[in-house]
Amino acid sequence: MKAKVFVTLKKSVFDPQGKTISDALHSLGYKGIGDVRQGKYFELELDAASAEQARALAAEVADKVLANPVIESYRIEID
């Protein structure tokens, strides 16, 4: 089973990389793009019996290691 974990800076935290990417896109002439938030993407190969178990395991490692709760939040998808 595979878990996809998307980690991004929390909405309340300024994202200097996202801002730079957004500015670059605007300077390239893209008008229809607003804020850009960048982040990290993890694919975890999991040995789990069910999607629930996989999600619980992915959430555990996201809380402990993959994301820093002071500045980041995450979202999990199970394949």
Partner: protein, 232 residues
């Protein structure tokens, strides 16, 4: 008195810290490998700068799981003085010994330059020989020194006088222009509630001898020697 300098794979200021303690101050000093599980009788622990574990994932994120960390947590809880410098500060944040986190510098550039910081509080083991509002010329060298914490945490840090160093201009004024990385409130260094754990982004260990451009960093090391002599 013995300084313990923790060495992670990727630490690169460990020898500078060791040199400051051993050669400049004439104190006993010993390296402690990150896979060690005891601090070898150290009276003060320094987590040096560098790029522990390549700073992969996040700065300090892997280092906080090193086998030496439980011993450091225990030492800190018992009141032992701990100084985290640059990457060492980042490790202390990830380990939860200090609150907050580091973001990329607001201009996304790695800043390697001399800055001025103001000593905000002198009641820590690392600042007690400094004078209040003393200005120190220290080098910084980091890409992720943009200190961040939730507004509630910042309020708590300010109310409990736990901001220990702030970036300032030559006159000692805290201005945005003097802030190299975008840190909230120009925060360059903080301490824990018990005030024995201090973390800062600038490098005092690289500024302990005049030929290196500044000896202003020496006061941090002299302070802890004095602090420990008093408790001995």
């Amino acid at each position: 008195m013995k300084f313990g300098v923790v060495v992670f794979p990727g630490s690169n200021c460990d020898h500078d810290a060791y040199h400051a303690a051993k050669d400049v101050l004439g104190q006993d000093a010993e390296f402690v490998w990150h896979k060690d599980t005891t601090l070898k009788g150290a009276d003060v622990v320094i987590l040096p700068g560098g790029f522990a574990h390549g700073d992969y994932l996040r700065t300090g994120a892997i280092a906080r799981f090193s086998p030496i960390m439980p011993a450091i947590l225990e030492f800190a809880r018992a009141g032992g003085p701990v100084l985290g410098i640059c990457n060492g500060f980042q490790v202390l944040l990830e380990a939860g010994l200090l609150p907050g986190a580091m973001l990329r510098n607001r201009d996304l550039k790695f800043h390697c330059e001399q800055v001025t910081v103001r000593v905000e509080q002198t009641d820590t083991p690392f600042t007690q020989r400094a004078s209040a509002r003393q200005r120190l010329r220290l080098p910084v060298a980091h890409g992720e020194g943009n200190y961040y914490a939730d507004p509630d945490v910042i309020r708590e840090l300010e109310a409990s006088r736990r901001v220990i160093f702030r970036y300032c201009d030559a006159a000692g004024e805290v201005t945005d222009a003097a802030n190299p990385n975008g840190s909230v409130g120009n925060i360059a260094g903080i301490c824990n509630e018990a005030r024995n754990v201090v973390g800062l982004m600038p490098h005092p260990e690289r500024a302990c001898e005049a030929p290196l451009g500044s000896a202003d960093g020496l006061v941090l090391f002299e302070s802890v020697v004095t602090a420990l002599a008093r408790t001995a």
